[in-house]
Structure formats: structure tokens, C-alpha cells
Amino acid sequence: MINDFAFSVATKNGSGSQTSNNVLVMSLFRMGIPVNGKNLFPSNIKGLPTWYTIRASKDGYTARKAITEIVVAYNDGTATEDVANLPPGGVCITTDKIARVIKQRDDISYYEIPVAKLMRQTDVPSAFRKLVENMTYVGAVAKLFDIPLDLIYEVLLANFKGRDKPAKMNHDIVKLAYDWTAENIEKTDPYRFESMDGTAGKIMMTGNDAGALGAVFGGVNVVAWYPITPSTSFVDGIISFRHLRQNENKENTIAIVQAEDELAAAGIVTGAGWAGSRALTSTSGPGISLMAEFAGLAYFAEIPAVFWNITRMGPSTGLPTRTSQGDLLFTHFLGHGDSRQLCLLPGNLKEAFEFGWKSFDLAEALQSPVFVISDLDLGMNNWLSDPFDYPDQPIDRGKVLDAAQLQTFIDEHGKWGRYMDVDGDGIPYRTVPGTDHPFAAYFARGTGHDVMATYSERSDDWVENMHRLSLKMDTAREMLPGPIIENSSGSDIGIVTFGTNEDAVREARDWLANDGIHTDYLRVRALPIASAVGDFIHSHKSIFVIENNFDGQLNQLLHIESPEDISHVRSLSLGDGLPMTPNWIYENLKEQEG
């Protein structure tokens, strides 16, 4: 079995296993093998169990698999369960100490590494010993499954940014375990890696870094945030790419403020957007809850700003380190009263980058907050991708008038009012503070207002304004990124999904096709939904809406949006805190359809 199996590495949180796992993933990536690493980690600094799954797939499938063939059982607390989860013919790599206490199975291969004994042979300073101990499984895995030692050294060197000392210290342990394995273990399993040409020209990156890089190329210039898992690394990403936007004197064009809470972060980006900035905040569910009041204000006062929601499992504090698509409805309808937010739904790394820059153009063109709903799986895990395309259109600042344009507007229309809709698309013209024209100023407010932005409690003003906002939403439907559609199977069955389920759905569709069940496919990429989504639903007899939440929220939204009977649309939703698997989709769809 070559280049087509999955690992699960079970360790304790805070034990330094992140470096070991990263080294394995990057080594496979450099061997040209399509690979995906997913970190299932606890909400804890040290001690609780953590699993890292690595999937190699010669065919390029990178979804999480329900079952992994190999486990590295380095956590005595979970080892029994980890071994029990292996399929027949599986492999358990463990320490000699743990091997004594776990239940033995006679249908799998056991490889025991004498970690304590090996570590005693090293001259690693005691302060580092615990941190590098996990390199023993890297060495054993390298030997057992054929990863070249020199490649691992290269990856270690890159991991430590070219510093030889730590790279060598880690590599010495890898080599020690490698050599010990070569001399003492007889391989009894069929799995191994072999260099191939599946990753040439491709990149590996996390979705948070990709979105952050996109924001930097989209001209973000004010960032306000409050730390929260799993969105923290999004702003870390912007900080790491900030230098790309410094001038020759190393001065910044991006201000980054760690605010006192998410409420203030939302206030800062709202104030900045009003004053003409491209402002961004990044958060997750609990932060989105706090941002609700500014989201409503920005929607109603028509202020551009970009909000990233790296979704984690809710309700409430929920599972802070587990993935979910459970904020779809809350984010889309964020704010009290009749409010509705524009949402972009990236499904992969390239879209995280693309929506990273495009969200600013859309926010300014539509004069509205734009929410980019990603999730922990895309945000924090390493994904394989083609390199990103440079933005294919210049920056669009939308209908913003400078002093001269304002005068032209007044000459043409007799006057300028902040909320006058002269183009019939629901999008008015705005000015920003600092515009040197006697009629440029207006008063932004969350209270009732007329087209001149003057305070108004008149019912007719209120209703007129809501009609225009509704018209603007309809304009947005066709301006936002349209759905991805694969409509050529000729089948009556259509699958509708969004976000990171893409890989699992793609693989499940291939399995179904092998069984003779062909499906069409649509991935929603923005809310409010485009008319093409309705067309797709109505052109199929059976529609399954696959999503990673408990209530089937996209399914609910499709029913809200559809004026006609769509009882042929059924929900297939699973919210268990883990990335969707092709296995679950395949089994459930087959059961429903069969």
C-alpha cells in the first residue's frame, strides 16, 4: 500500500509534538505526495490529549478519513482507545512503556520504541529533553515507511528558519530512533511512502495565513482584534505579512490594535471604515456575539468593514478548539431588527486568499460590512493548494466622492444626500471625513434617517430606507462570488454544500459514482444566495444539503429564500466538532437515496 493511507498521532498537549507532526507533513509534501494534516487539539495549554491526523493520498484526496490505518500512540491516557480504533491490518507505533499497559490485538502490527532508553543515550540538555522526545516517532516512522533522513533534516532546518543548532539537536534524535528501528524492528505491515510528482508547484499553508495574505493584498489598513481561538493566528498572519506593505523607511501602512474586547474591535473597524479606511477584524463565535451591536449599526449606517468569523463549535463557549459551520444563520442575520449581512464562504485555500482581498472591494462597493465565514479546519490546518492568483482587478473603492466629484454630483442632481439612490441599485454615494467641500459633511447614525442623513422618525422615511436596503441586498446577490456548479452528470440528484466540506463531498461523489450513483454539485460561496442556486435546486428532483452543523442551517436558509415548495430539498448535517468525512456523506446519502 503506497502513498494512500492515514496516520493519527496521539500525544499530550504541550509536549512539543507540533514540530514533530509538522516535520512529517512537510517531508511528505517535499516527497511530492499530496498530504493534509489536521490538528484535533484540546482547549488547554498542557496535558490534555491531542491528535494529529496526516493523510497521504496519491489521488489528491485531502479530506479527513473516518479511519486511520496507523496510529502513533504516545499518550498513555488514550492509547487503549487509539489502538481499538485501528482497522484490521493496522499499525500501532508506541513506546515500550505504554505497550505494557495497552490491550494487545493480534490483527495489527505493533512497533515498540524504547523512548526512555534512547533519550538516555543523547546529550540533549535536560531542559529540552521532553520537547524533543517526540522526534523518536519521527525517526521510527521515517524508517518504517521510507522517508529519507536527509529530507527530514532539510525540513527541520526550514522549520527553525535556517538555524542549524536546533535542527541538528532534533535530527540527532530522529536518526537515533531511525537507526534503532532499522536494527531492532521487523516490518510486518504493507504501508510505505514513495516519492512522486504530486505536489510540484503547489504550496502548503493554513487558511488563516491565506486569508491574512489576501487582506494584505486587498489593502487592509486598520486591523482591530481580540485574541480568540481559532482566529488568533489570522491576525498573527497579518502581522507576519505586514512588512510587504511597509514603505522604504519601514513605516507601516497597516495599523494593528489589540482591543480590550471584540466589541471595541468592531467599534474600531466601524469608525475606521466610516473615515475611509479598509478595516478588518477577525474573531470567532463568542466574539461575533459581542460584535452584533456594531454589525447592526454598520449595516444600517452603511459603513464598509470586513469581519472574519473563523467558526468554532457553539453554542456558548462550546468546543473552543473544534471546527463547525454553526454560525451561518447567526452571522447572516447579525443585528437586531430587519438586518441582513453579506457573507462570503471560502471553501479552500485559494478562496481564503481571494476573498481576503475581494472582501474589501465588495464592502466598499456595497457600503456594508462583509463577513467572511471560514472555520477552524480551514483556518488552523495546513492545506495543499495551487499558488494564489494575483488580484485580477484593481482596487475598487466604490461610490466615494472627493470634493470635485461631489461638486459634479451636486451640479447634476441639485444636491447630495448620503442616502440618495440616484443609480437605482440601492447603493448611495458617500463622502469621508476630511473632504474639503462645504456640503461634504453628513451625520452617520444608527437612528432613523432620511436620504439627507438627517434624524427622522417618519414612517415613510423609515420604509423608504428599508426598501432601498433591500434593493441593495438584491444588487449584492449577483455581485458577490457566484456558486461553484458541476452540472454535467445528467443526474436527478444534486448536492448543495458550502465551505470546507468541498474535499469530503468530492471524494464521496467519486465513491458514489463508482456505485453507479451520479450526482451534480453546487457549492454556495456567498450570502444572500444568488439566483443560480434556486435554478440548480429546481432543476433536480432530489437535493441534499450537506453541512457541518447540527441544525442544517444552509438548508433552513434555502427554505427561507425559496418562494416555492422545495420539499425535495433534504438536510444532511452533522455537527460533531470534526471536519466532515467522505465516509459519512457516502453512507448517509446512499441510505437516503437507496
Binding site: G218, A255, V269, A275, P433, F443, A444
Partner: protein, 348 residues
């Protein structure tokens, strides 16, 4: 006779906003009037100013002054974050922001203290009347302990002193005044506008409808009878020469005059009254506020002042062009820059 005009050729009327909808006689309206007057006298260019507020009676007032400035009536207690964002977007703007005691002392206490910590340079006016007016007369967190109001009866909670909170939080300019003392309000406003840092003005501004009985320390009768100015305040133009002779001409002892030089070279001149307060001394500032609180002495004036320290935009090390005005070349790195990042992420 043509109207009087300032150095920009504008009349005072051109610094007004829309007509006030507050109760006749409201203290807040007199503060708005002083803002209009001082903006006119200083000859400020309105398009270079923004006015921002939270929610409440006080927060309605930015609609009533500086009609030529962009304004933002934001959310209850959230004015400071909106100001932070706006002034990061465009650090060339100046800002006069209005809040109230409910806005800053209760729902927005966190933002009040954190905007000071960040040292965002703007004038932070608190129109403090000790009562919630729009919801018909509940006590606010600055109301006197032991005070009686029709709506709630007896207030048994001690007040929060917002000027004291501002000093403790590290504000470099903290003043207290009384909306009935137009001259002092005007002088403090002018100094605050010139200041390069968060300038907090806690102005006792009576609510004529719900909290104006003379038993309240937030009332007009109490303020008129009990205000104890710490000093007389004069703002002297940048071309003023600090000469010993002038002080003697004014019959003041050298120790009775404190001149504080402002960012633009002008001076705040404080002429001592019966108190030895030196606003450059943090300990004295805290003492004067604590004594005021304990003994219910209505001390007004410049309570605390220190040399401006770096503002938020300084600590962010920003380019000189306001961020909101950056062109595409500054907002989007080149294709080569993207390709270089991509190459660094490839397998090799």
C-alpha cells in the same frame, strides 16, 4: 452691519449645527454653544474635524454644532472605539467627542479607560448630570450617595468620579468644569483642542428636568453657589513671549502663575486663586479630586496635565499619509511580492 467674521471669513453662525431638541435650559446646550464659540474664535476648519458621540441626551448634541464637520452618533458607551478607528484611518483629523455619565460611567466604562490607555488624541467631553434623562430619571453611576430622586427614591451607592478614573487611567489632560461657567468651559475646550493626547473634560451639566434641585451637586443652583475654581485660565497665543515683566505688571507673584506650553507653542496660563493646586503634579491632582469627592467640594479647572506622550498613531509607526488616503500602490504589493511568498511555500 455685516456680521463679525473670524480669520477664515466665517461668521459664528457658520459653526452651528441643527436646532437643539433638548429641554430648554439644558446644560448640554450651553456646552454646545461654547464649542461653537471657541471653534469660531480659533478659526478651525470644520472639514478637518470630526464629532462623535455615544447614546443619550449628551450624545445627541454633536448634531447641534459644527454643521460642516462629519459626525457619527454611534452606540451607547462605544464612542471611544469609533474615535480610535476613525483617527487611525486619518490621523490628520481632529475630534471633539461627546459622552455622558451613563455612556462613560456605566455601559462604556471599559472603552472610556482603554481609549485613554491607548492615548488617542481627541477631546473627550463628558456632559455629566448624574441622571438618565431619555429614560425619565434613573440615577447614573455618578449620582451623589444619599441623594433622593422621585423615580428611584434614595441612592445608596457611592458615585464614580470620572475625572479621578481618567487620571488613574493615565490621561495626560484632565479637567472638570461646570456648564454654567461659560468662560472656564471655553478656555478648557481651547486647551483640550490644542492638546496632543486624550483630553478628558468632565463637565457638570445639569439636567433641568430630572436633577436640578439644589440638593443635587449636579444642579445649576448648587453649581452657581458652590463652584470653587482652582485657578483662572487664559490661553495665550504662540507668539506670546514668556516675560517676567508681564507677570509683575499683572501683580502676580511668580509662584502664583503656572504657564503650560502646548504642542503648537501656545500657553495655558493658570492664575492661582485660593488653592495651591499644580496640575503638573499627579499626586496633587488625585488629592484634589479625592478631597472634592469626600467633602463635596466642587473644584473646577485644569486638574491634571502632563507632557504629551506618544499617541496611538505614533506607537503604530505609521506612514505620514493618512491611511484612508493611501493610493493603490501603497495598498497592494506587487505581483512579484506575491510570487515570492508563494515560492517560499512550495515543496522545492
Amino acid at each position: 452691519m455685516p456680521p463679525r467674521v473670524n480669520q477664515l471669513g466665517l461668521s459664528r453662525n457658520e459653526y452651528k449645527g441643527r436646532p437643539s431638541t433638548l429641554c430648554p435650559g439644558c446644560g448640554h446646550d450651553s456646552i454646545s454653544n461654547q464649542i461653537i464659540s471657541i471653534a469660531y474664535e480659533m478659526g478651525i476648519e470644520q472639514h478637518k474635524f470630526i464629532k462623535v458621540s455615544g447614546i443619550g441626551c449628551s450624545s445627541k448634541t454633536p448634531a447641534y454644532f459644527l454643521g460642516g464637520s462629519h459626525g457619527f452618533n454611534a452606540l451607547h458607551g462605544r464612542m471611544p472605539s469609533v474615535v480610535t478607528g476613525a483617527l487611525l484611518a486619518n490621523k490628520d483629523l481632529s475630534c471633539v467627542a461627546v459622552s455622558g455619565d451613563g455612556d462613560s460611567g456605566s455601559i462604556g466604562m471599559g472603552q472610556f479607560k482603554h481609549v485613554i490607555r491607548r492615548n488617542v488624541p481627541f477631546v473627550y467631553i463628558i456632559e455629566n448630570n448624574g441622571v438618565y434623562g431619555l429614560t425619565k430619571g434613573q440615577f447614573s453611576a455618578t449620582a451623589d450617595e444619599g441623594q433622593f430622586l422621585k423615580y428611584y427614591g434614595l441612592n445608596e451607592m457611592p458615585p464614580i468620579d470620572l475625572a479621578l478614573e481618567a487620571v488613574i487611567s493615565g490621561a495626560s489632560f484632565v479637567a472638570r468644569s461646570f456648564s454654567g461657567d461659560a468662560k472656564q468651559v471655553r478656555a478648557l475646550l481651547q486647551a483640550a483642542i490644542l492638546h496632543q493626547g486624550t483630553a478628558v473634560l468632565d463637565i457638570i451639566s445639569p439636567c433641568v428636568t430630572f436633577n436640578n434641585a439644589e440638593t443635587s451637586t449636579k444642579s445649576f443652583p448648587y453649581g452657581r453657589d458652590n463652584e470653587v475654581p482652582l485657578h483662572e485660565i487664559q490661553i495665550l497665543a504662540p507668539d506670546y513671549v514668556h516675560a517676567q515683566e508681564e507677570i509683575e505688571v499683572d501683580n502676580y507673584e511668580a509662584g502664583d502663575i503656572i504657564d503650560v506650553e502646548m504642542h503648537d507653542g501656545s500657553f495655558i496660563r493658570l492664575k492661582k486663586l485660593d488653592n495651591d493646586h499644580d496640575p503638573r503634579n499627579r499626586r496633587m491632582a488625585i488629592d484634589v479630586l479625592e478631597q472634592s469627592l469626600r467633602e463635596q467640594i466642587f473644584s473646577t479647572g485644569l486638574i491634571y496635565y502632563e507632557e504629551p506622550h506618544p499617541t496611538l498613531a505614533d506607537t503604530e509607526d505609521l506612514v505620514s499619509t493618512p491611511l484612508a488616503r493611501l493610493d493603490e500602490a501603497s495598498l497592494r504589493p506587487s505581483k512579484e511580492a506575491l510570487d515570492s511568498v508563494m515560492r517560499g511555500l512550495m515543496a522545492g
